[in-house]
Symmetry: C2
């Protein structure tokens, strides 16, 4: 198979089905793009669209959806629980196969420039595509939301990376590149949530744990079971098996066992290959040895 990226644009509309449908249709109608998921939340008043495709096709789909959102969504009228600065609030590209993060950054910049120049929408580049450290994290870029950014955009520190330094009714858009996020839960043989919280502390970056690991301890009431719930924000830097083994080892400290783990949503094939590679101690395994990899 050829180069493949995932794209997960977030739109500031979660209530009007006809608007959501019009935006999603722009994505669906681009050849070479596969729509994977549409998740609309009414109280957030926000829709997350997930699709994959060949890089140029994915860029085109993101641009067309962004243009449609700018046409149909007026930030002056928008209310919702989730922070946002634009009709198309954020567009991350994620490398899936045969493509580097650097190529995704380049693709994000091409899209940012097009949105700025052709749609006259201010664009900020974030995460791996950020042009200054102050713009790496999404909350920093989104500070003040649409309402606050309307005036702040004229200041030098909030000057957009592409497009005009003034806000249209479609707001501004954040574009960038990041690794695939794996939502991963590890279930414990205890109903004592404090143990799950202690284990979460031991693995999460903020407390000295793994760099690409966000974790919390929570109680799963209907199973009367404590769980370590994890966002693996870069499985190539912090692999699944290492987090699993550390949780197992930390749990043993409390006389607790790992009874199972769950992948929530999607996982890239490479993360499963890496897992098999670790446990079976593969020597020189090549992804092309996976039979199905030869068929795409």
């Amino acid at each position: 198979m050829g180069k493949l990226v995932e794209c997960v644009p977030n739109f500031s509309e979660g209530q009007r089905p006809e608007v959501i449908a019009a935006i999603v249709n722009e994505v669906k109608n681009v050849p070479g793009v596969s729509l994977l998921n549409v998740n609309s939340d009414a109280s957030h008043n926000r829709t997350v669209v997930t699709f994959v495709g060949e890089p140029q096709a994915a860029k085109q789909a993101a641009f067309k959806a962004c243009a449609k959102a700018a046409e149909l969504i007026d930030l002056e009228q928008h209310k919702g629980e989730h922070p946002r600065i634009g009709a198309t609030d954020v567009i991350p590209f994620i490398p899936v196969s045969d493509i580097t993060m650097e190529e995704c950054v380049e693709l994000a910049n091409e899209l940012g420039r097009e949105i700025g120049e052709k749609l006259n929408i201010p664009v900020y580049m974030y995460e791996a595509a950020a042009k200054t450290p102050a713009r790496v994290k999404l909350p920093d870029v989104r500070k003040g939301e649409y309402e606050g950014l309307k005036t702040a955009i004229a200041t030098p520190e909030r000057k957009p990376d592409y497009g005009p330094a003034r806000m249209p009714s479609a707001g501004a858009t954040v574009v960038g590149a990041r690794q695939f996020l794996i939502a991963y839960n590890i279930n414990l043989s205890t109903s004592d949530v404090s143990i799950a919280k202690k284990i979460a502390t031991s693995i999460r970056e903020a407390k000295g744990g793994y760099k690409y690991c966000r974790a919390m301890g929570v109680m799963i009431e209907d199973r009367n079971m404590a769980q370590v719930t994890i966002n693996m924000v870069d499985y190539t830097g912090t692999p699944l098996h290492r987090v699993f083994e550390t949780v197992k080892s930390e749990a043993a400290r409390y006389g607790v066992n790992v009874i199972g783990s769950e992948i929530v949503g999607m996982v890239p094939l490479q993360a499963l290959i890496d897992t098999a590679d670790f446990y079976l101690r593969f020597e020189g395994f090549d992804r092309k040895q996976v039979l199905e990899e030869n068929l795409r």
Copy 2:
């Protein structure tokens, strides 16, 4: 992705490149089929062709290749080290994804009937498609080879399952369905091959080990290392991880470690998913959660 089978026909020609090319071209020219490998051995005077495809396309490719081989290969003139009864000696179908063994047996029967009726070639069904226990194993079906079968074919016990009970110059063909075979080696931290041989004995079916495991202990001279070399003939019945863990445990008995393992050639994605599932103790993992599975 849709239903997918692998097909690995063996042809009794390993010396004349133009004949091999003509047969391989019949496979390549069928839409919906991907050619994966062609392996010709001159001393065996035999070529193994590996391809995958949608079931009906794979059947058509196998039929056309068989017809071409019958046209170009004369068993009266054929000599080689490898036992054989026909120009197309054997055609196994292997389930790859979204297809059951029963469906592969049905597909094999459709192909066997076509070869018998349209090409007037005697056909024997084997392995999962065998119609009697005496025809399950390939060596039993191939007993006496082409030369012996010329007369034996007239006896009731050698009556073909499809086609005429007399031998054309293209010989007879064995058609069937079997599981994917994974060639798997486990490397040991010792140069004592007797330990590899003892471990091989502990895991192979013939000596009371795993039902779908064939194994030998061998010496890898250039690494001065003993190895357990394994054919996993049905990874759905005897999974990779179980054999790996048993070899690790048996090796420890001799104070020896497993230093690595190797997949030789292809492995179905499902075998790697099953490995990750075991070690990470997945709860309810669905193959459709693999991102790439949504793109085919």
